[in-house]
Subunit: 419 residues, 2 copies
C-alpha cells in the first residue's frame, strides 16, 4: 500500500485522557481511534494486525476440529433468565426495544451456543462437538483504563465444546491447551498456563494463559526453571519459596496479562436448558461443557505492551500490518523514485506486504513514523544507497542495519516469511 493513499497519519502526542501505553502508541500510530473509554474503532493498520491475529487463531482452532460459526450478539432476555445470568452477571449490558422487549448484549455466548448444540447433538454419536466464533463482545466494565486490553466492546474468540464424559473433556482440554500455546507462540508471546479460580462462570478450577507484562491486571507466581505458574489468588506457594513442581527453581512473582482462559463449565448450562442426549444404552444424559476464550484485541494490546520500545511499536513478523516498510528518500522524480517504485511492484508480485512511504516528507519524519508504526523490516531507497548498488535494511526489533543487494533482500524476506 502506498502510504500517501493511507488515510491515517501519525500523531506526535497521545490523547491526554489515555493512560495505557498500548492505546497511546496505537492511537499515535493511527491503528485505532478512541470512541470513548473502553471502545475503539480499528483503522486500516489496526485492522490488518487484528486480522492476522484472527487468522492465526482460526487456523489453530480449525486444526483441532473446531467448527466456526457466528452467533448473534443481541440476545433475547429469556435465555439469560433461564440460566440466571440476567440477575447475576454484573457486566451484562441490558436494553429494551420500542415495544419493551428486553435484550442482553453478548458478553459470552453460553446462552446462545447451548441451545444450538442442543438442537443438533441428540445422540452420543453427535459428541464431542466444538464450535467457535471470532467477534465482538460487550461488557459493562466499571473501569476501562487499559486501552484495548479491557474493553466495553472488544474482540474475542470463544469456543465451546460438549462432551460425553469428564475424560473426554480432559482429553480435549489438553489438545486445546497445546493449540493455545501454539497461538501465543505464533503471535510472538511466551504464555504461561496457570491455575486460577473459575470466577463467576464455574465453581470448578479454570486455567488461564498469562503473559508477563506490567500492563497486566493479575499477579502470578511462577518458576523460572519449569512450567509451574499460578495466579496469586490460588497459589499454594509464595514467591521466594521452592517450586512445588520441579523442586529446583525459586518461585518468582510478576505482573501478568491474561490472554486466554479455559473453563470447565460442567453441566450447568445444559441443565438450565434441559439439554440431554441419548447414550449408547438409549438413556438420557447431560453433556459436559467447556469454554475457551482468547481476547483478540487484548492479545493485540499485550503484544504492543510487551515489545514496544521508546521509539514506538515493535510488531512480531506474524502479526505486523505489513512485512516491509519501504521508504523512498527523495522527493523529486528521479532514479531513486523509479527504483523504489520498481522494488514496490516486485514485492507486491512476490506476495510480500509492503507499506511504501513515497510521501513528500523529510527523511527524519519518515524514520520517526516507521519506528512508531513498528513494521519489522525497514528498507531505504535513496540516491546514495543506489550509487553503492545496495539497499539499507534495518531490523526494527534489533536495530541491526545491513546493506543488501536487491537479490539478497528478496532472499532474506522470503526466508523470514516462510518461517
Amino acid at each position: 500500500m502506498r502510504q500517501s493513499h493511507l488515510f491515517t497519519k501519525t500523531r506526535k502526542e497521545a490523547p491526554t485522557d489515555e493512560v495505557a501505553k498500548n492505546a497511546q502508541l496505537l492511537i499515535r500510530g493511527g491503528f485505532i481511534h478512541k470512541e470513548m473509554a473502553g471502545v475503539y474503532s480499528y483503522l486500516p493498520l489496526g485492522l490488518r494486525t487484528l486480522n492476522k491475529i484472527e487468522t492465526i487463531i482460526r487456523e489453530e482452532m480449525d486444526a483441532i476440529g473446531g467448527q466456526e460459526i457466528k452467533m448473534a450478539t443481541l440476545h433475547p432476555s429469556e435465555k439469560w433468565k433461564q440460566t440466571g445470568g440476567w440477575d447475576n452477571v454484573d457486566v451484562l449490558f441490558k436494553l429494551k426495544s420500542r415495544t419493551e422487549k428486553e435484550y442482553a448484549l453478548g458478553q459470552s455466548e453460553e446462552e446462545i451456543v447451548t441451545p444450538i448444540a442442543q438442537e443438533y447433538a441428540t445422540s452420543y454419536k453427535d459428541l464431542p462437538v466444538s464450535v467457535y466464533q471470532i467477534g465482538q463482545k460487550y461488557r459493562d466494565e466499571l473501569r476501562a483504563k487499559s486501552g484495548i486490553m479491557r474493553g466495553r466492546e472488544f474482540g474475542m474468540k470463544d469456543m465451546y465444546s460438549f462432551h460425553e464424559s469428564q475424560e473426554d473433556f480432559d482429553r480435549f482440554f489438553s489438545i486445546t491447551k497445546e493449540a493455545y500455546l501454539r497461538i501465543f507462540r505464533r503471535a510472538g508471546l511466551d504464555a504461561k498456563v496457570t491455575e486460577a479460580s473459575g470466577g463467576s462462570f464455574s465453581e470448578k478450577l479454570s486455567y488461564e494463559f498469562m503473559v508477563i507484562t506490567d500492563a497486566g491486571e493479575d499477579d502470578i507466581v511462577y518458576c523460572p526453571s519449569c512450567i509451574h505458574c499460578a495466579n496469586t489468588e490460588v497459589a499454594k506457594a509464595e514467591a521466594g519459596g521452592e517450586c512445588p513442581k520441579c523442586k529446583k527453581g525459586t518461585l518468582a512473582k510478576a505482573r501478568a496479562a491474561e490472554v486466554g482462559n479455559v473453563f470447565d463449565l460442567g453441566v450447568k448450562y445444559p441443565k438450565a436448558f434441559s439439554f440431554t442426549y441419548k447414550d449408547k444404552d438409549g438413556k438420557e444424559q447431560t453433556p459436559i461443557v467447556g469454554c475457551y476464550g482468547i481476547g483478540t484485541t487484548r492479545l493485540m494490546g499485550t503484544i504492543v505492551e510487551v515489545f514496544a520500545d521508546e521509539k514506538g511499536i515493535v510488531w512480531p513478523e506474524s502479526v505486523a500490518p505489513f512485512n516491509i516498510h519501504l521508504i523512498l528518500i527523495s522527493s523529486v522524480e528521479g532514479t531513486a523514485k523509479a527504483a523504489a517504485d520498481a522494488l514496490y511492484e516486485k514485492f507486491r508480485m512476490a506476495g510480500v506486504e509492503v507499506l511504501y512511504d513515497e510521501r513528500d516528507l523529510r527523511a527524519g519524519e519518515k524514520f520517526a513514523d516507521a519506528d512508531l508504526i513498528g513494521i519489522p523490516l525497514r528498507v531505504i531507497v535513496s540516491e546514495k544507497t543506489l550509487k553503492e548498488g545496495k539497499l539499507e535494511v534495518k531490523n526494527r526489533k534489533t536495530g541491526e542495519v545491513q546493506m543488501l543487494t536487491e537479490t539478497e533482500l528478496l532472499k532474506t524476506v522470503s526466508a523470514t516469511l516462510s518461517v
Copy 2:
C-alpha cells in the same frame, strides 16, 4: 469437509413461526439458527456463504480505493445527540451502563466515521477519501418477518466517502455504482439501479439497487427494454405507459428487494461535527459526504429467494458454501468408499471445496439433503458408476446429469472455478 463432522443436520420441517422462505430454507438446511424474530446465528454452512459474499464485496471496494476499517458498534450517546439522530432515528437501540452512561447501538455509522475522517482529513490534499467496513448493525424494527432480509441484528457493508466538490462526489458515485453492479452480478443477481427518496438520511435523491423478487418490500416500475427503473414512491410514469428513457419499452411493475443503496448526504454530518478542511487557498471548507450500503445478510437472503426451487436452495457457484457435494452411495467399506475417499483428497489438493457425504444413510436421504443444501455440483460415487468407470455429476440448478470420467470432472470443475 466430511459431512459426518459437520455438527448441523437438515430438518424436514421449518419452524412454525417462520414465514419467510429464505429463513425457512436456511434453517432447514442448517445454515442459520433463529434466536428471535430478526436475529439469527450463522452456522458453518451459512458462515461460509456469508464469507464468500463479504469477500466479493471487499474485493470490489478495495478495487475502487476503499480502505477497510472496523468501527465500534457501541456508540456514546453524545455523538448521536450532536447530529440529532438520538431523538429522530426511531430504529436506534439505546441502552445505559451501570453508571447511567447512555449508549446507542450502531444502526449506521455516520456519527462515528465523520469524526474519524475529521481527524485525518485536514487539507484538500487528504480528499477524497473513502472508508468502509463489513460488520454487524442493529435496528429496532417493529416488524421482522422477512427472515434474514430484515433483521434487528444484521450484517452490512457500509462505505463513506468525503469530497471537495459535488463534481467529485458524482465522479465517485458513478465508480461505486459500477462496483455495486459488479458485486451483484458476481453474486448471481441482476440488480436494477433506481431513483428513490432519501428517507430519513437525506433530503437529496438517493439510488437503490433492486432485485426483482416477491420477497421484496418495495415496488418498482421498470422498462424491460432499457435500464430505466424507479421506486413507485417517486416514479413519474406508471406501469403500462411508455418508458420515459428509451421511448420504446412498455413499463412493467414488480415487487423488488433493495440489496444496496447510496445516499448523497451533503454536508449534514460534517456540519454537525464542525468538520472543515483547508482548501487550496487556505480557506476552511466543509466536505460533501456520501454513504453506500449493502446488506450482506439481506443479499444472502435475496439470493435464496431468487434461486430456490421446490426442492431447496440453489446457490450460484460464487457464493455456494462448497463447490461440490461429493456423495458416497455405499455404507460398507469397499471399492466405492476407497474411490470416494481418494477423489475427496484429490479435490482438496486441487483447492476445490468439497462437502463429502460419507454418512451411513440411505441414498434418498442423501439426495434430499443435497437438494436442500443447494451446492452447485453433486458428484455421486457408487459401485455401479465405478463399474462403468464414470461418475454421476448433477447440476443442481439445471438438473442436468452427466456421466463423466474423473479427468473430465476435474476439468469441468476447474473451468467453472476459474470463471
